[in-house]
């Protein structure tokens, strides 16, 4: 089925079961309701990180995903608050807008490689933050607050998506929404990586000259990939805006861009699901160390250093012997 082995299907099945049934059961049993938000965040950040990972896949270090997440958050907020759109329509619109910006910016900057590309994307994050501070439509320094919760959608009178504002508890709704988007994102990523486009990306990652000599339109693929990557960033950012019901220029900044990149490194650049695991460990790890009070940062960073010291190719490299997941 869809080219999956039965082993893979079982794995995916277990994963889906854990996310949609297991986690709520565990949270219900332990009463740790706060984990819903943490895991929702992990899912959303993992979506944005997936984009960063994809740009790695064409051999580019991307420290600019915070910029696209911020763009996505603002586009969705503006469409919902000022134009009265439904959040569910604003969500893909936010992704698309981020993708369009990525295409325009990508045209000149995707020619760069290595640290040069990394640095220019880092500067891009600053530029977008400063632009958000300066523009009237983003409401400048005051940000956009009091964004309404996602409203319901119905088609021919049949409710497709529920109205979040009418809910007793939006945590679970946001959790499921984020997980569904995350799974769609990673399913798309998996397909993409394992399809011809993915092979072409790999060929570009390893040698752009040779790739173009076998007829690969490298500049076109670079743009396509960067646009998809930024689409993911925009989605994640827009969802966050709707959970926080507010967007500020500082909602996503350089630190976030760097974290997205670290998520990919930590999980392992060679594995599609690396960024998901990396995000879980980096973000959830911080929460778990909450008990340590002022030593939280010290322990967190020590663990991080130890991981990279002993698993320099990412967490998933442990199972490299079993054939990997590519």
């Amino acid at each position: 089925m869809l080219g999956f082995t039965s082993k893979q299907l079982i794995g995916v099945g277990i994963f889906l079961f854990m996310i949609f049934i297991g986690v709520p059961l565990i949270i219900g049993a332990t009463g740790r309701w706060d984990f819903y938000f943490t895991l929702t965040s992990v899912a959303l950040l993992a979506i944005a990180s997936a984009g960063v990972w994809l740009t790695f896949y064409i051999g580019r270090i991307n420290i600019g995903q915070g910029a696209f997440a911020l763009i996505g958050a603002y586009v969705s907020a503006i469409l919902v608050v000022k134009a009265g759109w439904s959040f569910w329509i604003s969500l893909p619109a936010a992704g698309l807008f981020a993708a369009i910006v990525a295409i325009l910016i990508g045209l000149p900057i995707l020619r760069l490689r290595g640290v040069y590309f990394a640095m220019i994307t880092l500067v891009l994050t600053q530029v977008v933050t400063l632009t958000a501070l300066a523009l009237p439509i983003t409401n400048g320094a005051k940000g956009i607050s009091n964004i309404p919760l996602p409203s319901g959608i119905s088609l021919f009178g049949i409710p497709i998506l529920p109205d979040f504002a009418g809910m007793e508890n939006t945590k679970l709704a946001f959790y499921y929404t984020a997980c569904v988007i995350m799974i769609l994102t990673y399913a798309a990523l998996y397909r993409l990586v394992n399809s011809r486009l993915g092979h072409l990306c790999r060929s570009m990652q390893q040698n752009e000259e040779l790739a173009s000599s076998i007829g690969v339109n490298i500049s076109y693929i670079r743009i396509v990939i960067f646009a998809i990557s930024s689409f993911f960033g925009g989605l994640g950012g827009a969802m966050f805006g709707s959970i926080a019901q507010s967007v500020y220029p500082s909602s996503f900044q350089v630190a976030d861009s760097v974290n997205f990149m670290l998520n990919c490194f930590l999980g392992g650049l060679g594995y599609v699901f690396g960024p998901m695991l990396g995000t879980l460990v980096l973000y959830f790890g911080w929460d778990l160390l909450f008990e340590f009070g002022k030593y939280q940062m010290l322990i967190y960073s020590t663990v991080l250093i130890l991981i990279i010291r002993f698993l320099p190719n990412g967490l998933l490299s442990i199972r490299i012997g079993k054939g990997g997941d590519k």
Partner: protein, 289 residues
């Protein structure tokens, strides 16, 4: 006009020193050291502790900053970067390590030195004032001169000593250097220690003017990245030019664009992006040499 020039030289010289250490480490090991800013902050706090708290003479405190950071840099290279570079499939993985070290140093700084902004007594009093056209406090002039002297000393070290030659060979081509009989492991460590030491030195110098607080690390790293990029990654003269250019960009940009208010920095960053997109290799973008 005189004021803008003076501000540019002052800012440029201190920026150049920060960028030098970063570019040295980058050239030697292809490591983008995210923790460079934190090393700078530690340098500042060490000088603060010795000079500001314990009343040790300023120069001695500076030496302590250098020594502390050199040791720290050597340890980090020997026990963290070297093994990770060896075991890693892609050298970019060191970015994660560098970021982890930056977090770690931030945590240590907070626990050891506290969260407050710190400052030390002025080393020289008084302000040089030329007819209100050029105003420059004496301590800034002194620090600026010291920074320039340090840069000159560093260039001298790289050009005329055995260590310097070995480091340059290493930066140019690791394998070739090894064939020429350069002890690669040893000089990588020395180079990293030297880079860290430069960060510590400039931190110690600047604590007399700007003071120091734990928040300065991250932004300093990012600023240093930009300077390195402007000049051309891994090139010594590039780092110096990058520092000076960013210094002048700030001095001139603020003087010329201030009426645009909130978008002054936006303009500076956008022009930086355009510059990098047009000339990715920076000004001096060519191999070390």
């Amino acid at each position: 006009m005189e004021q803008i020039l003076a501000n540019g030289v002052y800012l440029g010289s201190q920026y150049a020193m920060i960028a030098l250490g970063l570019t040295l480490i980058f050239a030697l090991m292809n490591v983008l050291n995210f923790a460079h800013g934190q090393m700078y902050v530690i340098g500042g706090f060490v000088t603060y502790t010795f000079y500001g708290q314990w009343g040790v003479p300023f120069v001695l405190a500076l030496v302590m900053s250098c020594v502390t950071l050199a040791i720290l840099g050597a340890l980090i290279e020997r026990f963290l970067f070297a093994p990770v570079i060896k075991g890693s499939a892609r050298e970019e993985s060191t970015m994660l390590l560098a970021a982890g070290i930056a977090f770690f140093l931030d945590a240590v700084i907070l626990l050891v030195f506290g969260e407050k902004q710190r400052g030390v007594p002025k080393i020289v009093d008084g302000v040089f004032n030329y007819d209100f056209r050029l105003i420059m406090p004496y301590d800034r002039i002194l620090i600026c001169v010291l920074a320039i002297l340090s840069i000159v000393a560093f260039i001298g070290l790289m050009q005329y000593t055995k260590t310097g030659r070995a480091l340059r060979a290493l930066a140019q081509d690791r394998t070739a250097a090894q064939l020429m009989g350069v002890n690669v492991d040893r000089y990588s460590m020395i180079g990293f220690a030297l880079g860290a030491m430069l960060a510590g030195l400039v931190g110690g110098l600047l604590v007399t003017i700007t003071g120091v607080n734990l928040g300065m690390g991250g932004p300093t790293s990012i600023k240093a990245f930009m300077m390195v990029m402007i000049g051309g990654a891994g090139v010594i003269s590039g780092a110096i030019w990058g520092g000076i250019i960013l210094g002048f960009m700030e001095a001139i940009g603020l003087a010329v664009l201030y009426q645009y208010g909130d978008i002054t920095y936006l303009l500076i960053f956008v022009s930086l992006m355009i510059f990098l997109a047009i000339r990715p290799q920076g000004l001096m973008g060519k191999p070390w040499g």
